[in-house]
């Protein structure tokens, strides 16, 4: 989706401002939203790609104005309702619907350390042939899907070089929409900054973008 989340190359967003001695969470509610989101994802009603896409669906003006964890909260609420874990009425009232069954949480405290330590790998141990070779010149496809994609707009149609094959991974464009994992190779593809931005870029500078097979075509 050509949404506002796809920010690479936009201008006039102001200076980058570093905060000295920044806390991990600026307000206690931010930590709660972070932890609730991790815990709710443990029900496996959605995947990371769907979660990212849900945040991308926030209307652009809202997205730009909201803080990071407000965006997380909005995405979490939408997915929780969409997948039937809570109802809007319950969110409004803060109370479970009368007579609804009480579940047993999936992510309990003792499961947190192993979750943190092992994560949820997106690689897949399946034999899928790579479509491209290291050193090969490639072109990023000019695609404009209305759904989720991790092919940033600024790279579409541009020429680059495959630098490294990282193996087989879940494909976000289908996974986000529960259309299957469509595992395929992911490569580091290096683009000259001048290919992306023209003469204003310094001649030696480059941008490396991780690309799935489906994002590329032979140059």
């Amino acid at each position: 989706m050509n949404g506002v989340h796809d920010m690479g190359g936009m201008q006039d967003m102001g200076p980058v401002q570093e905060e000295k001695n920044e806390p991990v969470f600026h307000h206690p509610w931010e930590g709660r939203v972070f932890a609730i989101t991790r815990s709710m994802s443990a029900w496996r009603k959605w995947n990371l790609d769907a979660l990212r896409h849900q945040r991308e669906l926030i209307p652009p003006a809202e997205y730009l104005r909201m803080s990071y964890y407000e965006i997380w909260l909005a995405g979490l609420l939408e997915l929780s309702v969409k997948h039937g874990l809570v109802t809007r009425a319950e969110i409004e009232s803060g109370m479970p619907t009368a007579g609804s069954a009480k579940l047993t949480p999936t992510l309990t405290a003792e499961k947190v350390p192993p979750l943190v330590a092992h994560g949820t790998p997106a690689s897949r141990d399946v034999a899928v042939a790579p479509q491209f070779q290291t050193g090969q010149r490639v072109r990023a496809r000019n695609i404009n899907p209305v759904g989720h994609t991790r092919l940033p707009r600024y790279a579409r149609g541009k020429l680059g070089t495959v630098e490294r094959d990282h193996g087989v991974f879940v494909f976000p464009d289908t996974d986000a929409h529960f259309l299957g994992e469509k595992p395929q190779h992911v490569y580091s593809v290096r683009f000259a900054a001048r290919e992306l931005w023209g003469e204003q870029a310094k001649p030696k500078d480059t941008v490396v973008i991780a690309m799935w097979d489906d994002y590329l075509e032979p140059a």
């Binding site: 991990v24 909201m66 909260l73 330590a117 991974f169």
Partner: protein
């Protein structure tokens, strides 16, 4: 998709009222955070909404409050950039380790006991006199949690996400780093599940230092690639 967007307006609108800094509003954000957090005196609308949501989810048996506390404690106190600094120091001190780190980053990082959530597929990229690496996620906020912890606000800001790829040198200048044109600035956009850690150049004058002393010089910003590691006499630990 249209109906989805309308739904969002319904739930997001309430969240909209609160005083938290906008992703875009770097200026407003700085103003807010250089003040004394007086807005915390009265619980914000967001704080109340999140509290209410948590109660609901606990009541329904969807989340375990102890698990929430444990997750927050993990990223506030246990996992952070000191982990990454140990990896960098080991690489500086032990050339064989450095080779393993660059070839198979996950395994080498696991040797020091780190890895896992949001760092399942690590790629370590080495700064040299000829190449300066810098990491961004233009599409969201991907960041190597096991070695750097959760990302700072600026890393997630519209300013950094938008400009790092088109104007990396301008961004680096704002961090106080000016690089000559004959150095390649190589920006890594974290579009997949690969997570990048920059291995900064070891500063001169650190030959006699222990691994712990070396680690103390390594900053989070240097491991994102928006700074260099400074030698102790330059105030490296700052």
């Amino acid at each position: 998709m249209q109906s989805t967007r309308r739904d969002f307006l319904a739930t997001a609108a309430t969240a909209a009222g609160a005083a938290a800094a906008g992703d875009l509003g770097a200026r407003a954000q700085e103003e807010e955070h250089t003040h004394d957090h007086t807005h915390q005196a009265v619980p914000s609308d967001l704080a109340l909404r999140v509290k209410s949501l948590e109660s609901l989810l606990v009541e329904k048996g969807l989340v375990d409050r102890a698990a929430l506390d444990s997750l927050i404690d993990t990223y506030e106190h246990k996992v952070g950039p000191r982990n990454g600094a140990q990896v960098v120091a080991r690489a500086w001190a032990d050339p064989a380790y450095k080779q393993r780190l660059l070839m198979d980053s996950d395994k080498a990082i696991a040797e020091l006991g780190f890895g896992g959530q949001q760092g399942e597929h690590m790629v370590v990229v080495e700064n040299t006199p000829a190449v300066h690496n810098m990491v961004v996620c233009t599409l969201c906020s991907c960041y190597p949690w096991p070695v750097l912890g959760l990302p700072p606000v600026w890393y997630k800001s519209a300013a950094y996400r938008s400009r790092s790829v088109i104007d990396p040198r301008g961004v680096l200048r704002e961090f106080g780093l000016e690089l000559p044109d004959d150095v390649e600035v190589r920006v890594w956009d974290s579009t997949a599940e690969l997570r990048y850690l920059v291995l900064p150049e070891r500063p001169a004058g650190t030959d006699g230092l222990s691994e712990d002393a070396l680690a103390a010089l390594v900053t989070r910003d240097a491991m994102i690639g928006v700074a260099k590691v400074r030698a102790p006499r330059e105030g490296g630990a700052a």
